[in-house]
């Protein structure tokens, strides 16, 4: 599979999952579409999928790929600081981190699941 096709696949899966998550949260819990419109969330998923796939192309050995994956996990974990400290002036501001944090892991989790499966070497 080419890197382009893989990036498409990763984007597609991430977009589908994040859309479902966004809609469920909006309908059953809290609506944060004013703070994070769906179109921006989806463009973020595509951007992350393509940029991670592009950066991974520089990892030629097993060792560099291991470092890359570890870095990805660390960055994903550290990135949760942003929704925790964000002031959004929303009626349900306290619940914003609970909404945003799972979204931070969608692309990395699918990356870590699919990449070893489709690029065995």
């Amino acid at each position: 599979m080419s890197k382009l096709n893989f990036a498409f696949l990763l984007s597609l899966i991430s977009v589908i999952f994040s859309s479902i998550y966004f809609k469920i949260y909006q309908v059953y819990l809290f609506d944060f579409s004013e703070v994070m419109p769906l179109w921006r969330l989806l463009s973020m998923m595509v951007f992350l999928s393509f940029s991670i796939t592009w950066l991974s192309a520089f990892c030629k050995t097993k060792k560099t790929m291991l470092i890359f994956n570890l870095t990805l996990v660390v960055i994903a974990l550290l990135s949760i600081i942003f929704p925790i400290q964000a002031r959004i002036y929303h009626e349900f501001e306290d619940f914003f981190p609970a909404f945003a944090i799972p979204l931070h892991f969608i692309v990395p989790l699918f990356w870590l699941s699919l990449h070893p499966l489709l690029f065995k070497k």
Partner: protein, 179 residues
């Protein structure tokens, strides 16, 4: 040739998604220099602490939003005793309701001014108000100014009294800077 097209497609999608992700929104944040004054025969004063965000676009008023929060504890009537009294449960009940909130639902332009329809939440009670606003622009800074009346009894702030009128005149000036 095929590889070049692949690279081109990859780069284009990456660039387009990055442009959308980081596209600026006309979002403003309330900055220092604001004033929320209330005036009546007795008492008069102001709230010193206000924060919030304003999404404002003259060309797209349908998506314009005001989301403001006033700290009740920042009330200043010019009399320390009165400030403390204003925070007890009979009046603002600061311990239980530390903020007064305003969230707009509709922004309309009427002549050269704006009418901001929204919900004021005070002491746990939410009422819809239409607030007139004048807008001025200084560089990246917007300033909204206006005057309106709030009926304190609608929000159960204090009781009916001959000394303190039910309707309080609110004079506000809110400067906001683009984020």
């Amino acid at each position: 040739m095929k590889t070049k097209i692949s690279y081109l497609m990859f780069g284009s999608i990456l660039f387009a998604s990055a442009a959308m992700t980081f596209a600026p929104i006309d979002n403003f944040e309330v900055i220092e220099g604001h004033s929320i004054e209330f005036k009546s025969k007795d008492p008069s004063g102001s709230f010193k602490k206000l924060d919030g965000t304003i999404a404002f676009d003259d060309a797209n008023l349908a998506d314009s939003k005001f989301n403001l929060s006033i700290e009740v504890a920042s009330i200043n009537t010019g009399n320390g005793m009165m400030n403390k009294k204003a925070q007890i449960d009979e009046w603002f009940d600061e311990a239980k309701y530390p903020t007064i909130k305003f969230k707009s639902t509709k922004v309309e332009k009427v002549g050269s001014t704006y009418q901001i329809t929204g919900n004021i939440t005070m002491k746990g009670i939410t009422k819809e108000y239409v607030i007139p606003a004048m807008k001025s622009k200084e560089g990246k800074k917007l300033v909204f100014k206006g005057t309106f009346y709030v009926d304190r009894l609608e929000f159960k702030v204090g009781h009916k009294s001959d000394v303190v009128p039910a309707k309080m005149k609110i004079i506000y000036s809110i400067p906001a800077e683009q984020k």
